[in-house]
């Protein structure tokens, strides 16, 4: 090819398409990046929080706060609860110790592990000890949330989510009452 | 290909000849057929089209359009149908609800009916007792936008009703079930100098149009409220209303 220097327009395919090729080299990764970012950011924002299991008796660090250990106990004197015959009143007890930042957390949810059925905390009767959740807490909080569950339900985990960190959700595994 | 000597490709010449011949034959056949149709009975559509006086066609269409327009009243504005006058106790039947305003009461406060006035803000409550029947085929919420838009005070047209309650058992924001009559107390928070005992209240009744959702909307909904009737009620001022049975459901 070098010999035929006189043939001006007869350049190689690569050099003739040099501009297009450079554009392609820029645009293809840019397109993949833009579409990928768009789709994956939607996925990460919209997905369910990751469930992080925590072994019984252990604590977990979440957004600077220390959560746990957790316990699930049967409420010995369920007088204040209007519980139907055959139901149990359980209480989920979780210690939340804030780090540098104040911490907010949802009311824990009782999750039946084999089925995924979920119970929300009941309103506590007068004289109930402990909190149902935490709000802008700067000092350690002892959560003590009561639940009405059918007598044959279980085993359970205690699910807790922090207000400012929707990405992760703790499944605090507990000794069954 | 064109630069190739003809001799090297003996196939090319005969094949070209064949195509030329067949093309010619085709054209001849077409011409024959054309002559046939011009003379014979076929091709009626083409002949009919030729007979249409295209020169006059545009004029004819325009004339037809103008005639039709004139038949419907030309470009005159449609005579606006004014709202119907409704006497106290008389019903105006709209497409959604039938409303019969009974009387109007001015009261200092009407918490039971869903309208709590702030005396420091110089507010009082104007209550209209109205007999209502839902004439649609599904429930209408008493506090829904569309229901509250059906009743407006003529002097304060932008002011939405604050409270809607049943007169018999005091249910606030009751659902109006189809065909079930109900007496309602509809209340507005009004400036305390806006109305007085003995004033004539002009109460406007609006009719909505039922729309069916398309593409991005779904279901049926009421919209486009238009003034349909005006009721005249004499206002009774019951003061604080402690002994006023009229305003306490």
């Amino acid at each position: 090819m070098g010999a035929v220097t006189g043939a001006g327009p007869r350049r190689g395919w690569w050099s003739r398409n040099a501009i297009a090729l450079v554009a392609l080299a820029v645009l293809v990764p840019a397109t993949v990046g833009a579409i990928g970012w768009q789709e994956w950011s939607g996925y990460f924002q919209g997905r369910h929080p990751l469930v992080v299991p925590v072994e019984p008796g252990e604590t977990a660090e979440l957004a600077g706060a220390t959560i746990g250990p957790a316990a699930l106990v049967q409420v010995p004197d369920p007088q204040g609860f209007d519980a139907p015959a055959g139901a149990r009143v359980l209480a989920a007890q979780v210690t939340v110790v804030p780090g540098e930042e104040p911490v907010g957390c949802s009311r824990p949810v009782l999750v039946e592990l084999p089925t995924g059925r979920r119970w929300e905390a009941e309103y506590a009767p007068m004289g109930w000890r402990g909190e149902l959740g935490c709000y802008e807490a700067t000092a350690p909080v002892w959560i003590n949330a009561p639940y009405l569950v059918p007598g044959d339900a279980g085993p359970f985990a205690v699910e807790l989510e922090l207000a400012h960190d929707g990405d992760e959700r703790l499944h605090l595994l507990v000794e069954q009452p | 290909m064109s630069s190739d000597p003809a001799g090297e490709k003996p196939i090319a010449a005969p094949s070209k000849a064949t195509t030329d011949a067949s093309a010619k034959a085709g054209r001849a056949a077409a011409a024959e057929a054309g002559a046939g149709t011009a003379a014979g009975g076929g091709g009626w559509l083409g002949r009919a089209a030729e007979k249409v006086p295209t020169k006059w066609l545009t004029a004819a269409v325009v004339a037809l359009f103008l005639a039709a327009t004139a038949a419907f009243g030309g470009l005159e504005p449609v005579a606006a149908q004014g709202p119907v006058e409704v006497a106290a106790g008389e019903a105006h039947e709209g497409p959604m609800v039938s409303l019969a305003p009974q009387r109007a009461v001015l009261i200092d406060d009407f918490v039971e009916g869903g309208a709590s006035a702030d005396a420091e803000e110089h507010e009082r409550v104007l209550v209209v007792i109205v007999d209502a029947v839902n004439v649609w085929d599904r429930p209408v919420g008493g506090l829904s936008t569309e229901f509250r838009e059906t009743l407006r005070l003529q002097p304060l047209p932008e002011l939405p009703a604050e409270g809607v309650a049943r007169f018999d058992d005091g249910t606030i924001g009751p659902d109006l079930q189809p065909g079930v009559p109900v007496q309602l107390a509809v209340s507005w928070l009004v400036p305390d100098d806006a109305f007085a005992e003995g004033d004539e209240l002009r109460l406007e009744l609006f009719d909505h149009t039922l729309h069916t959702g398309q593409s991005v909307t779904y279901g049926e909904f009421w919209d486009d409220a238009a003034l349909a009737a005006v009721a005249t009620l004499e206002i009774e001022d019951v003061g604080a209303g402690a002994d006023a049975e009229q305003a306490t459901p």
Partner: protein, 181 residues
């Protein structure tokens, strides 16, 4: 011959298009709810809830345990209901009686099972009351119960009712919503 074939093919295509147009489900059919047919006394299990309609009666007046009462043409449904998966937003917000094309909503006037959050696995017992026009005492009605007022593509429990065949009482007191026994 060729011409006849072309006509035949054309007609066949038109017929095929018409058939496709007729056989394709409308948007309403594609999005229709999953109906669970209920029967008196039998649990009807939907995706997120389960109900057992125990009795349906008519009355000329109803009262609730709190002392509220009202005359009228009432249909009273006694039932048990529970949530199946979650207690979040577990109120039955679709409670309606359909008579032909007309839809009656559950009355919010008495205290009833309307607006009661359902519990997972723990059935509650209560009543629902419908206020109907005075003249509506016969005809076929459908009781429809669902978790959301928007019933498309979710379970709806339906019970067929013959209004004329209902036991009619002068007055019925609604059940107080309580745990089912």
């Amino acid at each position: 011959m060729k011409r006849a074939l072309a006509w035949l093919a054309g007609l066949a295509m038109v017929a095929a298009a018409a058939a496709v147009g007729h056989l394709t489900l409308t948007e309403g059919q594609q999005q229709s709810p999953f109906v669970v047919q209920a029967a008196l006394g039998d649990p009807a299990v939907g995706r997120t809830f389960a109900v057992t309609v125990e009795q349906v009666r008519a009355a000329d007046a109803v009262a609730d345990a709190g002392g509220w009462h009202a005359a009228g043409n009432w249909v009273v449904v006694d039932l048990e209901a529970q949530a199946r998966e979650s207690e979040t937003a577990s109120i039955l917000t679709l409670i309606e009686l359909r008579v032909g094309e007309v839809v009656y909503g559950a009355s919010e006037r008495p205290v009833s099972l309307v607006d009661t959050p359902l519990s997972v696995g723990l059935p509650q017992s209560g009543s629902i009351a419908f206020e109907l026009p005075e003249s509506l005492t016969s005809g076929a009605a459908t009781l429809r119960l669902g978790r959301t007022a928007e019933d498309r593509l979710d379970s709806v429990a339906e019970l067929q009712i013959d209004l004329a065949a209902l036991e009619r009482r002068p007055s019925i007191e609604l059940r107080e919503t309580a745990w089912a026994q």
